[in-house]
């Protein structure tokens, strides 16, 4: 009965609805929360991909053979959006070359490999005073320093955090949202982090609040993590932050994908961030709990981002969470989890809704790795063959952004890409709810990924073609212009010769004064120019006469510009000629 009531409620948009749409997959979180966060033994080598974040590749500062200390900067952030890479432990750099990385493509990418010496010796580091924030310079200095912290969003998106902490007059942050929803099944790294290090999270939150000048802080936790919520409430009560700004733990109903930043923001504040804007445009910023804890480690201890908590779960002996140095191989983590069970057929990085299959168990843990799931046929049975879409619209019912997945599928399948774009394909967050709910087992998300990449590729090709066309048009225009200039020059010369002839005649006849001859010459030139102008006007394109006013205005403007340019060229030539004459 309650389910029926809920249907009615949801259909009318009444009552405490979590996210509109969304699904409730079995969460499988208890398996990995039975023991405290463990520490992985120091591995023999670490493989650090340069691309662990969204944005530009960082610039490598070391070379093969260098001895590096723990926390030493190996690659610095390059450009606006980028993140630095540090040595997670001390040792010698053995290679800087392409190696397999945890990426859905399964393609290798540039990595720095360090053979560890086992000493785990820190580089000199010191806390940074983040409280001093009186002037703009103070702040930009702190943010500049943060560029070399290597901190990125640890919720999985891996967006450089220093970028998110920059504010300006246009994007001032009113509300700071701490994302602790952890809505994907199986993943428990944030849950365990909150249970064990809530105080440290609050210290990090204090820093983020201070840097952003946020007027309130909201912490969103799904209701399947009561221990974490309790720990966070306790930490909030003890935090000095609670005396500064309103600070609240908000428990939200467990419903995937409530941990999507925009979904969580709406759940907590009721504000729907416009699709074409960033959350900061409407006064909101959102950080993952582990990210703010990294801020605390950086500012209060001077430690850059070199490790994170990762869940190892699924088809392993002892599912648990471990503090893992970046660059540690997945195999080491699986071993820590007691090893994979016999029927394991692969490893998934991330959760079962948005994660991807690892190309090899030797790939390293990176900043974006929150979870490794050993998969087995009984845990994740392969989908039966897809049937045709029966338009049941279950996918539309569960879509958290209210798209019409069945229409998008139709357009993507028939390569009707423009239509797919019209139906807001790019608002798809690829959460996988549609595929999860599809009775026909259609891999919908794959179709959307394909369509998106096709559209992006087409746009790029079009841009390149436009550029080439513009260049060609400019070239044709230039050739045309040079031709005309040459013609004018010839006309001028011819007129000059005529005038010269006239002058000789006049001089021989009447010994006319010099300036009279000059005047005749000028008149001849003027006449020639006049003739050229008339000629050009006659040659003006006829198809623009009937153009609509705006186009005509545009044409007039272009003509004016062209005329001005030509004038300046003519002037220059004139002066040149004059000088030559002298």
């Amino acid at each position: 009965m309650s389910s029926l009531l809920n249907i009615v409620k949801q259909s009318f948009g009444l009552g405490a609805v979590a996210v509109s749409g969304g699904v409730h997959p079995p969460d499988h979180k208890h398996e990995s929360t039975t023991q405290a966060v463990g520490q992985l033994p120091l591995p023999h080598q670490l493989t650090l991909p340069l691309r662990q974040h969204v944005g530009n590749l960082p610039k490598v500062l070391v070379k093969v053979g260098d001895y590096v200390l723990k926390g030493q900067l190996l690659a610095e952030a390059e450009g606006n959006i980028s993140a630095a890479i540090h040595a997670p432990s001390s040792g010698t750099i053995t290679s800087i070359e392409d190696a397999l990385i945890p990426h859905p493509s399964g393609l290798p990418d540039r990595c720095i490999t360090i053979a560890l010496d086992g000493k785990d010796e820190w580089i000199a580091h010191a806390p940074i005073d983040w409280r001093k924030l009186e002037t703009e310079q103070d702040k930009s200095k702190l943010l500049e320093g943060l560029r070399s912290s290597g901190i990125v969003g640890l919720g999985g998106a891996a967006f450089p955090t220093q970028v998110k902490l920059r504010t300006n007059a246009k994007s001032s942050v009113d509300t700071l949202v701490l994302n602790a929803a952890e809505c994907e099944p199986y993943i428990t790294c944030d849950d365990m982090l909150m249970r064990e290090r809530a105080d440290q999270i609050l210290k990090g939150l204090e820093i983020a609040q201070h840097l952003l000048g946020a007027k309130q802080c909201l912490i969103g936790i799904e209701d399947n993590k009561p221990e974490a919520a309790e720990a966070m409430r306790h930490a909030c009560a003890n935090s000095p932050l609670s005396k500064l700004v309103p600070l609240k733990v908000v428990v939200v109903p467990t419903q995937y994908p409530s941990g999507d930043a925009r979904q969580l923001i709406r759940l907590l504040t009721g504000i729907e961030v416009p699709a074409d804007k960033r959350s900061t445009d409407v006064g909101l910023q959102c950080f993952n709990v582990a990210t703010v804890l990294a801020l605390h480690r950086y500012f209060d201890f001077g430690e850059p981002s070199i490790s994170r908590i990762v869940t190892i779960t699924g088809n392993v002996q002892k599912p648990a969470n471990y503090e893992v140095l970046f660059g540690t191989s997945v195999a080491d983590l699986v071993q820590a989890g007691g090893g994979a069970l016999a029927d394991t057929d692969g490893y998934i990085m991330g959760g079962p809704m948005m994660g991807f299959n690892l190309p090899s168990v030797s790939v390293p843990i990176t900043k974006a790795s929150n979870c490794v799931i050993a998969s087995a046929p009984n845990l994740f049975p392969s989908a039966p063959p897809a049937m045709p879409c029966i338009r049941c619209a279950r996918c539309a019912d569960v879509c958290p952004v209210s798209l019409q997945p069945q229409e998008l599928y139709w357009f993507a399948k028939s390569s009707n890409l423009e239509k797919a774009r019209d139906y807001n394909l790019f608002d798809c967050i690829e959460c996988g709810c549609c595929t999860y709910a599809c009775p026909s087992n259609i891999p919908l998300v794959q179709y959307y990924r394909f369509a998106k990449s096709e559209i992006i590729a087409q746009d790029r090709a079009k841009e390149a073609a436009d550029l080439a066309r513009e260049r060609n048009e400019f070239r044709l225009m230039r050739i045309d212009r040079e031709k005309q200039e040459r013609a004018e020059k010839h006309a001028q010369k011819a007129a000059g010769a005529k005038a010269e002839a006239a002058k000789t005649e006049a001089t021989s006849a009447t010994e006319a004064p010099e300036d009279e001859a000059m005047a005749a010459k000028k008149a001849a030139i003027a006449a020639a120019i006049e003739r050229a102008k008339a000629q050009k006007a006659a040659a003006a394109p006829q198809n623009v006469v009937d153009a609509i006013p705006s186009v005509q205005a545009e044409i007039a403007e272009i003509d004016a510009r062209r005329e001005a340019a030509k004038q300046s060229v003519t002037d220059a030539i004139a002066t040149n000629d004059a000088q030559e004459e002298k």
Binding site: S3, L4, I7, V8, S11, S20, V23, P25, P104, G106, P185, R262, E272, P274, A275, D276, I348, G350, P352, M353, M354, G355, F356, N357, S375, F380, A383, P384, P385, M387, P388, C389, I390, R391, C392, A393, R394, A396, D397, V401, S402, L403, Q404, Q406, E407, Y423, N424, D427, G432, T435, Y436, A437, C438, P439, S440, N441, P443, V445, Q446, R449
Partner: protein, 337 residues
């Protein structure tokens, strides 16, 4: 390779179809109770024809036969068509109707998921237009029949082995049909509804079947196989239309409850207009679609040439589905409409 999500929760297409057939079982039981076991033969005939036609077409179209036969969609279409036919329909009528539903309306358009028109209603409409007399001759409910038909008698009707039995002897105009003809003879609704085939709300006996359909429909809602939009919009708009006309002139227009409980109203509301393939997908679109069917149904019942109008209304509104869907796109998260 990124093939996430790795989880799935959806019932398969066949499970959905089987559940819908399950929802039809109470109504079939009521049918047997009211009209006799002949309907079971009609159902079996339609089922066999549907499966044969489907298999043949899949083979001709070079499609895998087993998965598409097992999806249950052909069987469900057959059942829906069989339940729309008069319970003593001759065997060839059932076969012709099912053939049209499966071969023409479904497979020729591309099979499961591609048919723009409701296959069962295409079959029904073809039969109604081609054989109007047989299609409007419904046997009287057993309790009203002068001669109680045994199952053997019913088989004789269905297979046409006995010429001595004329259908007229056992058939009776349905209330919708009777009302329509009597109103043209200047009787009032009140006078007409004293006739024996009228029950409390709809047709005597037929009411029980309607109640069973309602029960099945509620099961579909509870199982989330359909959303409330279609049945609620259809029934409420039909009731509103009928109510408005009834209030204006109760002597010539039947009570709205009569419209809800006779003919194919309830059956259509839960089982016919809810066909996902040929219907709209957006919530608002569903409301528009169902309201359109309700208006057309009422107009055909009152002013049209046929006693009931659900089938034609559904087919007419099927044509509008692409337009309805395009016009009723919901607001996307973070967009202003």
């Amino acid at each position: 390779m990124n093939r996430s999500p790795y989880l799935s929760s959806a019932p398969s297409v066949s499970v959905i179809m089987v559940k819908v057939m399950l929802a039809l079982v109470p109504a079939i039981a009521a049918y047997v109770w009211v009209f006799g076991a002949g309907i079971l033969v009609v159902l079996a005939l339609a089922s066999i024809t549907a499966l044969l036609c489907e298999a043949l077409m899949l083979k001709l179209r070079d499609r895998p036969i087993k998965p598409f036969l097992m999806d249950g969609s052909a069987l469900l279409t057959a059942w829906l068509l069989a339940l729309s036919l008069p319970p003593l329909a001759p065997w060839w009528l059932v076969v012709v109707g099912t053939f049209f539903s499966i071969v023409i309306a479904k497979q020729l358009y591309g099979g499961l998921g591609y048919n723009p028109f409701n296959p069962a209603m295409v079959g029904y409409a073809v039969l109604l237009i081609s054989f109007p007399v047989i299609m409007t001759h419904w046997p009287a409910p057993l309790e009203l029949a002068e001669a109680k038909l045994s199952f053997a008698n019913q088989l004789q009707y269905i297979f046409g082995t006995s010429d001595s039995l004329s259908l007229d002897a056992v058939s009776m105009a349905t209330p919708l049909d009777y009302l329509k003809t009597q109103l043209t003879l200047h009787h009032t609704v009140q006078q007409v509804s004293l006739a024996p085939q009228f029950g409390m709300l709809g047709a005597k006996g037929g009411e029980l079947v309607v109640a069973a359909y309602l029960l099945g429909g509620l099961y579909l809602l509870q199982q989330r196989l359909i959303t409330w939009h279609l049945p609620i919009a259809f029934l409420s708009v039909l009731a509103l239309m009928a109510g408005a006309f009834y209030l204006l002139d109760p002597a010539h227009f039947a009570h709205p409850l009569f419209h809800l409980f006779t003919g194919a109203s309830i059956f259509g509301a839960f089982f016919i207009i809810t066909d996902p393939v040929s219907g709209p997908t957006t919530p608002k679109g569903k409301l528009v679609f169902a309201a359109g069917i309700a208006v057309l149904t009422f107009l055909i019942r009152v002013y049209g040439g046929y006693p009931d109008g659900v089938a034609f209304s559904v087919l007419l509104m099927n044509m509008c589905v692409p337009l309805i869907d395009a016009w009723t796109q919901p607001r996307v998260f973070g967009h202003v409409k």
